[in-house]
Point group: C2
Chain length 339, copies 2
Amino acid sequence: MAQSSRKINMADVARAAGVSMATASRALNNDYGVAEATRRRVLAVAEELSYVVSPEASRLAGGATGRVAVVVPHISRWFFATLLEGLESVLRAADLDVLLYHVDGIEDRHDFFHRLPARRKVDAVVVLAFPVGEEEQRRLELMGVTIVAAGGQHAPYPNVCIDDETAARQAMDHLLFLGHRRIAMIAAVDPDQPDEVQPSGRSNAYYAALRDAGIPVDEQLVETVNWGGTKGADAMAKLLSLREPPTAVYAHSDEVALGAVRTLRRAGLRIPEDVSVIGIDDHPVAELTDLTTVRQPVREQGELAGRMLLRILRGEETEHDVVVPTQLVIRGSTAPPRS
Amino acid sequence: MAQSSRKINMADVARAAGVSMATASRALNNDYGVAEATRRRVLAVAEELSYVVSPEASRLAGGATGRVAVVVPHISRWFFATLLEGLESVLRAADLDVLLYHVDGIEDRHDFFHRLPARRKVDAVVVLAFPVGEEEQRRLELMGVTIVAAGGQHAPYPNVCIDDETAARQAMDHLLFLGHRRIAMIAAVDPDQPDEVQPSGRSNAYYAALRDAGIPVDEQLVETVNWGGTKGADAMAKLLSLREPPTAVYAHSDEVALGAVRTLRRAGLRIPEDVSVIGIDDHPVAELTDLTTVRQPVREQGELAGRMLLRILRGEETEHDVVVPTQLVIRGSTAPPRS
C-alpha cells in the first residue's frame, strides 16, 4: 500500500473522484443524498489515496452521529438476539452503526436512559421488547433523540409488535377446538420489569377463551413463573401434583413449554396422548422437538422497526403502530384429550 | 429541569464539582485514571447543570474513540449471542461502547474489514468465532486498531477459546467407556466460511478416539452437514438407512444432536435404550431435553476476551491464548448399548 508523506485531505479525494467537495464530504460521511455509485467511487478513491476519514470532526457540524443505540434487556435469549439481527441488517444496509446496550434490570435501565442523551452519542434509540418510562421518553425527545420500539407491546412511540392477546387466543382456541376443558396456563413474567408494565395480553386471552367457551376458571390451573425453561418444568410439577391435573397446557412461550414437556416425560406421561402442550414463538427448537406453537415473525419485527426508523430519520411519514400477524403451527404435541 | 440560558461549559462543571478542568474532562469523557466516586460526582454535577458532553470533540484530541467493534458471523444463534452478552458486559462496565457488526458471508466480511479501519470509528475489533485473514489483520494493525478474538480456534492475535479436540474427545471417550463400538459422527461446518479455515478439532478427535480404542473407521458412519438442528435430523435419517445403524451418535453441537434426537423419536426408537446421543455446548435447551453433552463456558469466553482487550488498551501485559476448560455433563441421552 503506497503511503504518501503529505497528509491527504478531502479536496484531494474530491478532485481525484471528479466530484464537488460537498459531495465528497457527504459520501465519506455516509450522509443521505449521494447516489450509491457516486458514494462507492468516492470511497474507492479515498481508499486508494489512503485518506483517513474523521467522521467525528465532520459530523459535529451536521449534528448527526450516524449511530443508533439499540437497547435490549437480554442479548443471549433467542427472541432478543433475533430481533437484533433483523434490526442490525437494515441499519447497516443504510450505513448506520449500531451501538449495543444491554440494560440488565430496572436500575441499570434507569441509569442508561439518564446518561445516554447527555453524551450525544446517537441519533436514535431502538428499544427491544421493554418499555420506556414517560420521563425517560421526554428526556430523549428533549435531546432530539428519536425513539422506535420492537417486540414489546403498545408504546407511545413508533412500535412494531405482535398482538399478544390474538396470539394467545389462537393457542387457546386450538386446545378448546380439540376438546380440552381442563386447560392449565403457565404464565411467564420478566423479574427485571416492574409489575405495572408486564404485558398482560397472553394471560387475558386465557380467561377470555375459557369464558367464551363457558368453562369456569380454576385458579389452581394457573401458574406464574419467570421466563425460562427450567421454571416451566417446576410449574408443570406443581400442576401434576393436583388431584385432577390438566389434560392440556398452554405456556406463554416455547421455552416455558419445553420445560413442561421435560417434566411430563420424566413422569412417564406421553405427549400428546396423555397431555397436550402448546407454546408461543416458534423458537427454532420448537421445530426440533415437534412442539405445537403460535409462530411470531421475530426477525421481521426487527427489520420493520429498522425501516420505520430510517423513514423517521429522513423526515418521512411512518406508521405509528405496526402489528405483525401470528399463526398456529400444528406439530406433534397437541391432540384431542382421551375420552 | 432548570435550563440556563447561557451555555454551560466544562469550566462551570469543574468548578461546581470541585475538581480540576483536566479531571472534569477525563471524567466526562470516560478516560481512565479517574476514581469512580469522582467520576460519578462530576457526572452528577454535569447532569444537574444540563451540561451536554460532546465526546467526539474532546476525543479527537486524544485519538481514542471509546468504541469497540464486535464482529459476529451470526447474532441470533445462542452461541454467538451468549459470547456477545459476556463481552458487552465487560466493555460497558469499563464505559466502552460496543458497535455491533454482523458480517454475513465471506464477501460481506471482506468488505467490512476493508472499510472499517479507514473510517477510524473504533479503537479495537473483537471478532467472535471466525477467523480474520492475514491481510485483514495487517490492515487493522497498520491503522492502530487492536484485535482480540473469542469463541473460535487458535488465532495469530489474543484469543479465548475452548480446545475443540479435547471437548470432542471427552464426548467420544464417554461413548467408548459405555461400551459403544459402532459410533456415528455428525460433523458440522459453517457454509459461510472457506474450507481451509473450518476448525477440524471436533472431527480429529473422533478419528483419534476410535484409533486409540482399536476400532476401524467406517466412513458410512460419518455425516457432514451445515450447522443447525434440521440438518442433524437429515443426517440421522441417512444413518438409520444403513444396514447396520450406529448404537451411538456423537454430534458436533447440541443443536445438531437435537435434530438427530427428533429423527430417532419419529422412527420410534428410544433414547438412550436403543441409541445414545451426545452433543457439545451445553446449550440451555440441552438441560430441557435431558441431552448428555460436553459443556463449554460461553459467556465466560466473551468476558475473558473483554478483560483481555481492556488490558491491551491500557498497555498492560496479557496472555496470548486463553483456553477455557470443558466438561462432560451426563444426562439422560446416553447409556451402555444393548448387549
